[in-house]
């Protein structure tokens, strides 16, 4: 038998899984309208490649991946694009984001699907195919799968861990997937195995899913694979990637490091399934299994199209009349969706109809009594009570010292707190404040750098301009000085002005030259009003001219010559 390890902490909430496993997976009915958000994975927001009025086929690309860490988005059914606009998102904020709104035509016509034999392709091509098919981690983090399929060169890939633990209460979509589609899951795992070349493949499933374990074992045997299907003890959060790795391999992933640094990579079973559908059937990710449960009459797992409004989907399971909200995800880590029109996305594994009967309102928060229960329950061995004090006091530096970013927000601490303190909410608050500060700091640093650069540039430009002007002035002055010198030489045989070197002499030379020119002009100027003169006037002028020439003959003592 396989040796298992243990992770610290964890809780055992009532699983509430039996309700939704009695019936097989069913296809959800086609909704009247689909709103497919473009940003459905970690990384860059895909660029829309369709516009309002376009007709699309099922599986047609509508959002092109933007960068390597980003995954494409496809039309979930055939129909007409009604809008590419802001629509409400399945997010605790209830804010909008760019989505493609599609009105189905009811025919559900596929694009031409092109199955490929991935064994004949280079690993890069397989990764690109997965990106183009929009395959992302369906365990909840929606990290683009192709980005995790490159083995680190420095560390040998030892274990490939496949996560079928599904530890959170109420959720059964992975359980049903493993029961009904084990063969395709196993073949998907085969793709990951071939790309990563690990020494062994471990499929971890919580021991409360014996049917799934049996189905997987049968499929592994039938395919002749060497994967080990391991039943892990049921204990929340055994399905956390770091916890499952710890349980199966005994390796503890250190803070701020990745499991690949230890030679381990982890994928969800549903991710393996979609990867197989994408490669072997040419079907991009346009639907996923969603557990509809909680305060409903017919809890069941449905294959729902991405973009289906949650309220419309949940109606299929016939919620009881006192249903007053929808929880996306499980009761431990999920959140109340603020709008019933929010669409199902790739991260939507479960919708729970909420009612006060099922989930009584949180009792008032009491003071922390430092009992330490939260520290005992924390699967990451943090000290939630310390984090709580610091987050509450907005002492974010200290929360980081106490490793708040190792918190996976699993909710174990809040679950066990005897004072019913919403610890996770405090941690989320602290984390998002720290991120916001980081963003502000980066923006300020960028602004400062650009400001300093601009100042430097302005100064340089000013200096360059001044230099240019000085050069131009000097050239002008030299030219003028030369002219003046020539003029002066022509008139009074003075020494030619020395070549003006500094601007001061150049200026003086210019002024002197200008004065000399003015003088010459004055001297050469013909008296005005000499046209159309009468004989008397003519005679008078002649007399004056005669006197002037007489006066001008003696040496010119007067600098100001006659003006009139």
């Amino acid at each position: 038998m396989f040796d298992l390890f243990k992770f610290k902490g964890g809780v055992k909430p009532p699983t509430n899984k039996a309700q939704s496993t009695t019936l097989p997976i069913a296809a959800a009915p086609l909704p009247a309208r689909l709103a497919v958000p473009l940003h459905q994975s970690i990384g860059g927001t895909p660029r829309p490649v369709v516009k309002a009025g376009d007709t699309v086929l099922k599986g047609q690309l509508i959002g092109q991946a933007d960068g390597w860490i980003s995954a494409a988005v496809h039309a979930p059914t055939s129909g007409t694009v009604r809008a590419v606009a802001m629509r409400v998102q399945p997010h605790p904020s209830g804010l909008d984001a760019l989505s493609v709104v599609i009105e189905p035509d009811g025919q559900d016509r596929w694009i031409e699907r092109q199955p490929v034999d991935y064994g004949k392709l280079a690993p890069e091509d397989v990764r690109e195919l997965l990106q183009a098919a929009g395959v992302v981690g369906l365990g909840g983090a929606v990290f683009p799968t192709h980005g995790k399929l490159t083995a680190a060169k420095s560390v040998p890939m030892e274990e490939l861990v496949i996560n079928g633990a599904e530890c959170e209460p109420f959720i059964t979509c992975d359980d049903l997937l493993m029961r009904e589609r084990a063969d395709e899951v196993v073949r998907g795992i085969g793709i990951f195995r071939d790309l990563l070349q690990p020494q062994r493949v471990l499929i971890g499933v919580e021991d409360n899913k014996p049917e799934a374990i049996a189905a997987l074992e049968a499929a592994v045997r039938a395919r002749g694979e060497s994967f080990s299907v391991v039943a892990v003890p049921t204990r929340y959060p055994a399905g956390g990637a770091k916890q499952l790795i710890r349980v199966l391999t005994g390796k503890e992933v250190p803070a701020a490091r990745r499991s690949t640094d230890l030679g381990v990579q982890c994928f969800n079973v549903a991710t393996a399934y979609t990867a197989w559908r994408a490669i072997a059937h040419g079907e991009p990710v346009v639907s996923r299994l969603v557990t509809l449960t909680g305060n409903v009459r017919q809890p069941r797992n449905y294959e729902a199209l991405i973009g289906t409004p949650m309220g419309e989907l949940l109606a299929v399971a016939q919620p009881n009349p006192d249903t007053d909200g929808i929880i996306m995800g499980g009761p431990m880590m999920g959140f109340l969706v603020p709008d019933r029109d929010a669409p199902v996305v790739k991260a939507t594994n479960c919708l729970i109809a909420h009612s006060d009967r099922l989930f009584p309102p949180a009792p008032p928060e009491m003071p922390c009594i430092r009992c330490g229960e939260c520290a005992r329950a924390c699967p990451h061995e943090l000290q939630p009570f310390e984090l709580y004090w610091f987050a509450r006091a907005r002492n974010f530096g200290k929360t980081q010292e106490y490793a708040i970013f190792d918190c996976i927000e699993c909710g174990c601490c809040s679950y066990v707190c005897p004072s019913r303190i919403p610890l996770v909410q405090y941690f989320r608050f602290a984390k998002s404040e720290i991120w916001a500060r980081e963003r502000e700091k980066n923006a300020a640093d960028g602004a400062k750098a650009r400001f300093e650069f601009k100042q430097q540039r302005d100064e340089r430009e000013k200096a360059e301009k001044a230099e240019k002007l000085a050069k131009a002035a000097a050239a002008q002055a030299a030219k003028k000085a030369a002219e003046a010198a020539a003029a002066a030489a022509g008139e009074a045989k003075t020494d030619p002005a020395p070549a003006a070197l500094d601007p001061e002499t150049a200026k003086r030379a210019t002024i002197e030259a200008a004065m000399a020119r003015a003088k010459a002009q004055r001297e050469a100027a013909a008296p005005r009003n000499t046209d159309n003169l009468s004989a008397e006037q003519q005679a008078e002028v002649a007399a004056i001219e005669a006197r002037r020439t007489q006066a001008a003959v003696p040496p010119q003592s007067h600098p100001n010559g006659p003006t009139e």
Partner: protein
């Protein structure tokens, strides 16, 4: 004699230590005032000049010299005043001007005549455009300083508050709802 030896020892000690200090003051001299950089890193770097100084660094210099109050920076808000007070050990004072939500400048591209005046006014190079060509604001780089508004001859620049989006949304501080006690008398 002993007296003289004692004096000589003390004098020698003084000379040696004095020389060491003198050498250290030259060798390990700190260029500029490190306090200015610390203050500068607290300021929001909008370079808006609303404090009356031509940029964040000059204001930091003035604060370090003691010429300026710490409550003159509206973009930094009360939080900035608090941080400066903590850093400098001064008293927190209410902000001189009104605190504004973060904002971004928007150029009405239909009205813009391409005069480049706003480009010259922008302290952080967040406006692109050329003479007689339409200008536009690179929104992520805009600090919301409003310095581009006065030079615009056609008044085509407006300030808009930055709304909440999925990228900048924050979890709120968990507030315990205080509910009125149930009326038991009724």
């Amino acid at each position: 004699m002993e007296l003289l030896v004692a004096i000589a020892i003390m004098a020698l000690g003084a000379i040696v230590l004095g020389a060491a200090l003198g050498y250290a003051s030259v060798k390990f001299r700190v260029e500029g005032d490190p306090l200015i950089d610390k203050i500068d890193s607290v300021l929001p770097q909008t370079q808006c000049g609303q404090c009356g100084y031509p940029g964040c660094h000059p204001y930091a210099e003035a604060i370090a010299k003691g010429d300026a109050e710490i409550n003159l920076c509206p973009p930094g808000g009360m939080e900035g005043v608090q941080k400066l007070a903590d850093l400098l050990g001064r008293e927190v004072k209410p902000l001189e001007a009104e605190e504004k939500p973060p904002q971004v400048a928007i150029i009405d591209e239909n009205t813009c005549i391409g005069c480049t005046l706003c480009i010259q006014a922008c302290p952080v190079d967040a406006i692109v455009g050329a003479a007689k060509q339409m200008h536009t604001i690179v929104a992520p780089l805009c600090t919301g300083c409003e310095l581009c508004i006065p030079p615009c001859p056609v008044e085509c620049i407006t300030m808009e508050p930055i709304g909440e989006s999925l990228d900048n949304w924050k979890w709120k501080y968990p507030v315990v709802a205080i509910l009125p006690a149930e009326k038991k008398a009724a």
